[in-house]
Amino acid sequence: MTSLLVVERTTAMHRVNPVAKLLAALTIAIVLVLTIDVVSAGVALAVEALLLPFAGVRPRTFWIRTAPVWIAAPLAALTIALYGQPGGTVHFSWFLIHVSDGSLHLALATSLRVLAIGLPSVVLFITIDPTDLADGLAQVLHLPSRFVLGALAGMRLVGLFAQDWQALEAARRARGVADRGRIRRFLGMAFALLVLSVRRGSKLATAMEGRAFGAPVRRTWARESRFGAAEWTVVAAGLLIAALAVVVSVATGSWNFIGAR
C-alpha cells in the first residue's frame, strides 16, 4: 500500500500538477464517449501513441500497469461482436449470437475506445501522488480543504484493511468457529472490520483536531500547488487529442453522436 500513497516524484511527468492530468484525461474521455465510431477512437489512439513515449513512464511499468486495459479491450470487442446490434451481412448466427458487419464494426469501435480512454488515463494516474492531488484539488480547484484533507488522511487507513482481515480470519480459527457457517462468518468479519475502521477513523479525527485541524483561522499550505507552463501543456495535449479526433471523424462523415441514434 505504501506505493499507492507515496509516489516518487522522479520524472517531469510526476511533477506535473495532478489537476492538469485529471483535466486532460477527462477531456479525452468525455469527447470519446459522445460518439461510437472507428475513426475518432483510431485518431485519438494514434496521436496518443505518438505522445505517450514522452510521458516518462518506463516501458516495463507501462505494460504492467496498462495490462488490464489491454485485456479489457478485446473482451469488450468479443462481447459486442457476438451480441451487439446486428446490421449488414450476417456472418454467423446461433441462438442470441449474431455476428454481422454491423456488430463487428461496433466491436472494433468499442475496443479502440477502451484503449484510447484507458491508456492515457492509466499513464497519467500512475504518476499522481495522492498528497499532490489533494494539494491541487484544494489550492487550484479550491475544493473545501476539510473534505480533501479528511479523505487524504482516511486513505492511509484503507491500507490497514487487508491486515485487519487476515487477523480477523486467524482469530476466528483460533476461537474455534472457523469450520462451519462460511457466509455467516464472512458477514460477521465484514461487520467487525467496519467497527474497527470506524473506531480507527475517530481516533484519527481526534489526532487531527489535536493538531488544530479545523481551527478558525485561514489555513496555509506548506506545499505550493503550481499551475504553470507544464500543466497547460498537458491540458493542451488532452484538448489536441480530443479536437483532432472530432475534426477527422466529422470530416470523414463517420461521427455519430450517441444521442442521435
Binding site: 488522511a153 469450520d179 488544530a212
Partner: protein
C-alpha cells in the same frame, strides 16, 4: 508534571480538556472551566499539543515532512516559516530522516517522535502526553523519553504526562498529581514526596512505583514433556521475516520470545498457534498434544485447535465475537461441546479470576484496553488448552492486574500448561520465563535454556 490515578479516574479526559478537543455539550456533561493563559482551552487551538498512546492512530499524512507541517498549516503559519519550524522540530526529537520518507515505514518509537515533532512545530506552551510509550519496545521507550527531555530543555514548555510506568519519567518531572476516581485530587507534590509517602498505597492501586514492583509468584519449576516443537523454522506472510528458528514448548514451562519490533515475533506466534503456515520447516505437535489427529497444527480443524492450542493476539479487538463478556467466554466451551452447567461454571470462574465479573453483561468493545486484553486471555483459557500462545499478554496492565495475570499463569503452569509468550516486558520475562528465544530479524533465532529449577 506526572499525572497518576487508577483506570477510570479521568486522566485522559483531563488531558483532552486541556488540549481543547473534548467536544461540545452534545458529547457529554461539563462542569467548571479549563483555562489556558486565562482563556478557555477550546478557543486556543495549538496552545496545547497532545500525543496519545497508539502510534498508528496519530500519523496524518504520508510523508514525514508533510506530517510535521500539518499542524502549522492548520494554524495559518506562512509557508517559509513552516519549513524552518519542521526542520527545528524534527531536530528536537532527534528524527534525522529525509522529509519525503514514507511515514508508514517508521517504527513505533519513530512514529511517536514524529507525533511529538508535529506538536512541537506548533510551538505549544503546554505539551500533553497520554501514555506515549505504552505500545513501544524498550528501545522505543528510551527514544521517546530522550526526545521529550531534549524538547523540554530547548523550548521550556510545560509538560503533563500520564504513565503507569512511573520509572520512565520520574527523573524528568518535578510534580506528581494523583487523581481520585470519582473526582478530586488524592495527592499533589514533589515526586520524592508523593512516591515516598504514598508509594505503598499507589502501588496497591495499580501504579508502577519504582521500588514497589509486584512480587514474583512462587512456582514449581517443572521440566515437562515436549508438546510442540519446530526445527529450522522460517516464518512470514508474503516473504520470510525470520528463519532458522528452533524451539521446544514443554509442559509446565514458559518460552519467552523477545526481540526488536519487526523481528517476526507476532508472525512466529501465529505460526506456532497453527494459524499461519510456516514458510520453511515444520511445527510438530507431539502425540500427547495431538491426541491422534495428526502432528501438523496447520491441518487441524478450528474446533480441534481450540482445545489444544489457545492463542491470544496482540490486538484483542480482532478476537472479539460476542455481544457480552459472558457470551464471549462461552464461545470456546460451546464449540468443544461442553454442557450448559459447565459453560456457566467456567465463565463465572474466569470472570472473577480476571476481575471482570462486574462487567459480565457489558459489550466487550466498551472495555478499557487493559480489560480487553484480560478478556482475550480469558477466552483462550476457557477451553483449558494444554498450550497457550500469548502475544504481549501484559500490554496496558497496571501493576495490580499485571500481578494477578502473572499469578494466574503461574498457577496454570504448575498444573502443567505450556506457555509461549511474545513480550517486550522485561519484568514478565523475569517473573515467569523458563526458556528464551531471541529473534533478531533475518538472523538465526536460537533458544537458550534457562535451567532454573
Amino acid at each position: 508534571m506526572l499525572l497518576l490515578g487508577a483506570s477510570g479516574a479521568g486522566k485522559s479526559t483531563f488531558l483532552q480538556a486541556a488540549a481543547g478537543i473534548l467536544g461540545g455539550a452534545d458529547e457529554g456533561e461539563e462542569q467548571g472551566e479549563m483555562l489556558l493563559d486565562g482563556r478557555p482551552a477550546a478557543e486556543q487551538r495549538g496552545r496545547a499539543g497532545l500525543v496519545m498512546q497508539d502510534p498508528d492512530a496519530q500519523v496524518v499524512l504520508a510523508r514525514v515532512g508533510d506530517d510535521v507541517a500539518f499542524g502549522c498549516e492548520n494554524l495559518g503559519v506562512p509557508r517559509d516559516e513552516i519549513w524552518s519550524r519542521v526542520a527545528e522540530a524534527l531536530d528536537a526529537v532527534g528524527l534525522d530522516l529525509p522529509l519525503d520518507r514514507a511515514t508508514s515505514e517508521l517504527s513505533g518509537g519513530q512514529k511517536q517522535r514524529l507525533a511529538l515533532a508535529g506538536i512541537l512545530a506548533m510551538r505549544p506552551g503546554l505539551v500533553l502526553l497520554d501514555e506515549p510509550t505504552a505500545n513501544l519496545d524498550p528501545d522505543g521507550v528510551r527514544e521517546v523519553r530522550d526526545a521529550v527531555a531534549r524538547m523540554i530543555e530547548r523550548t521550556g514548555a510545560t509538560l503533563i504526562v500520564i504513565e503507569h510506568r512511573v520509572g520512565t519519567w520520574v527523573d524528568l518531572v518535578d510534580r506528581v498529581v494523583v487523581l481520585e476516581p470519582g473526582g478530586g485530587v488524592r495527592a499533589d507534590g514533589s515526586p520524592a514526596g508523593v512516591l515516598g509517602e504514598r508509594g505503598d498505597e499507589l502501588a496497591a492501586g495499580g501504579v508502577w512505583v519504582p521500588g514497589h514492583e509486584p512480587a514474583h509468584p512462587s512456582r514449581r519449576r517443572a521440566y515437562g514433556e515436549v508438546l510442540l516443537s519446530g526445527t529450522d523454522l522460517g516464518v512470514g506472510r508474503r516473504s520470510t521475516v525470520s528463519s532458522g528458528i528452533d524451539f521446544e514448548v514443554r509442559r509446565g514451562r514458559v518460552l519467552a520470545v523477545t526481540g526488536p519490533n519487526g523481528a517476526g515475533k507476532s508472525t512466529l506466534a501465529l505460526t506456532v498457534g497453527g494459524l499461519l503456515p510456516p514458510r520453511e520447516g515444520r511445527v510438530i505437535a507431539s502425540p500427547a498434544l495431538a491426541g491422534g489427529i495428526g502432528a501438523d497444527p496447520q491441518r487441524w480443524r478450528s474446533r480441534d485447535l481450540v482445545s489444544r492450542i489457545g492463542s491470544v493476539f496482540q490486538d484483542p479487538e480482532h478476537q472479539l465475537l460476542a455481544a457480552t463478556l459472558a457470551e464471549e467466554l462461552a464461545v470456546g466451551p460451546r464449540v468443544v461441546g461442553a454442557d450448559a452447567a459447565t459453560i456457566s461454571r467456567v465463565t463465572d470462574e474466569l470472570l472473577v479470576r480476571l476481575r471482570l465479573d462486574h462487567l459480565a453483561l457489558a459489550n466487550p468493545f466498551t472495555l478499557s484496553g487493559g480489560e480487553k486484553r484480560r478478556l482475550s486471555v480469558a477466552t483462550a483459557l476457557a477451553t483449558a488448552p494444554p498450550v497457550l500462545v500469548l502475544d504481549e499478554p501484559t500490554f496496558g496492565q497496571d501493576a495490580r492486574t499485571w500481578a494477578e495475570l502473572v499469578a494466574l499463569l503461574a498457577e496454570l503452569l504448575d498444573e502443567g500448561t505450556a506457555v509461549v509468550a511474545v513480550t517486550h516486558d522485561a519484568l514478565f520475562v523475569d517473573a515467569l520465563a523458563d526458556d528464551r528465544l531471541v529473534l533478531a530479524g533475518s538472523v538465526l533465532g536460537s533458544q537458550e535454556r534457562g535451567m532454573s529449577q
